[in-house]
Amino acid sequence: MPTKPAGTLYRGREGMWSWVGHRVTGVVIFFFLLVHVLDTSLVRVSPEAYTSVIGAYKNPIMGLGEAGLVAAIVFHAFNGLRIILVDFWKSGPKYQRQLLWGVLGLWVITMVPFLIRHLSIVFSAIPGGH
């Protein structure tokens, strides 16, 4: 059995998977942002245009999509802070794995109250209203 090389920061295990997650969430957020600026720009077209397009988002499917997007942003944000600690804090590289568990812990702590609040708003849809 060939032995694996000693753990490196970004290859294999937690280090690599967090990198994959960071990259995927970064791209997803970027494409969302392009669309988000476009839909918000409708406020310059007319109040009706904006309100009707935003109204079209107000359904459970989009609500779940928003929840997924927030989950991606919260992961990218906390893991981004972890990357910054690994780069600038002298013990960062040594504790990069523990820091990842910290990121996932904070992610759960942030997402649970957010999901309770957001999903209860989404699924208590007032018919036709906002």
């Binding site: 791209v27 109040p47 109204g55 802070l81 849809a125 906002h130």
Partner: protein
């Protein structure tokens, strides 16, 4: 067995290439920018998500009047402007890195980055114009106006 003696490193006198700054420092500045903008974006984005999705009636409350109410205040105008620029530059630089990593043919890389930069300029200019030329009480509009607009 004799202990091998290891002579002290000969620092000084040798010119390693890596000691000299060669070429432009663009990549280093971009690297630093990713980290600085990241820290600021955590505050801006978490605040944005909290105010728009969790406070008040949450996402149900979002309509023209909601946006108009926020942008009536210079505080939210500056907040959103900063968020737009930092997120777009951070995201564009991140996607640039990813294109450099995976697009191996020169022509592919150039094409993808050209499309990326055009999209970035369009979105940043559009978003900036919208924040600054926004009129919360447009003439002739009747529905969804914020409460502070004079009754028409």
């Amino acid at each position: 067995m004799a202990t091998p003696t290891i002579s002290a490193p000969r620092s000084g006198g040798i010119n390693y290439n890596r000691n000299k700054r060669s070429g432009s420092s663009f990549e280093m500045i971009a690297w630093l920018f990713m980290r600085l903008s990241g820290v600021v974006l955590v505050v801006l984005i978490f605040g944005h998500l909290f105010v728009n999705l969790m406070a008040g009636d949450g996402i149900h409350a979002i309509d023209f009047g909601f946006v108009a109410g926020k942008w009536a205040s210079p505080f939210w105008q500056v907040w959103d402007l900063l968020m737009l620029w930092l997120a777009m530059l951070h995201g564009t630089n991140g996607v640039r890195t990813i294109i450099n990593d995976y697009a191996e043919r020169n022509a592919t890389r150039m094409t993808l980055k050209t499309v990326l930069y055009i999209a970035t300029v369009v979105i940043v200019v559009l978003g900036t114009l919208v924040i600054f030329t926004f009129d919360p009480c447009p003439a002739g509009a009747v529905t969804d106006l914020p409460s502070f607009c004079p009754a028409k």
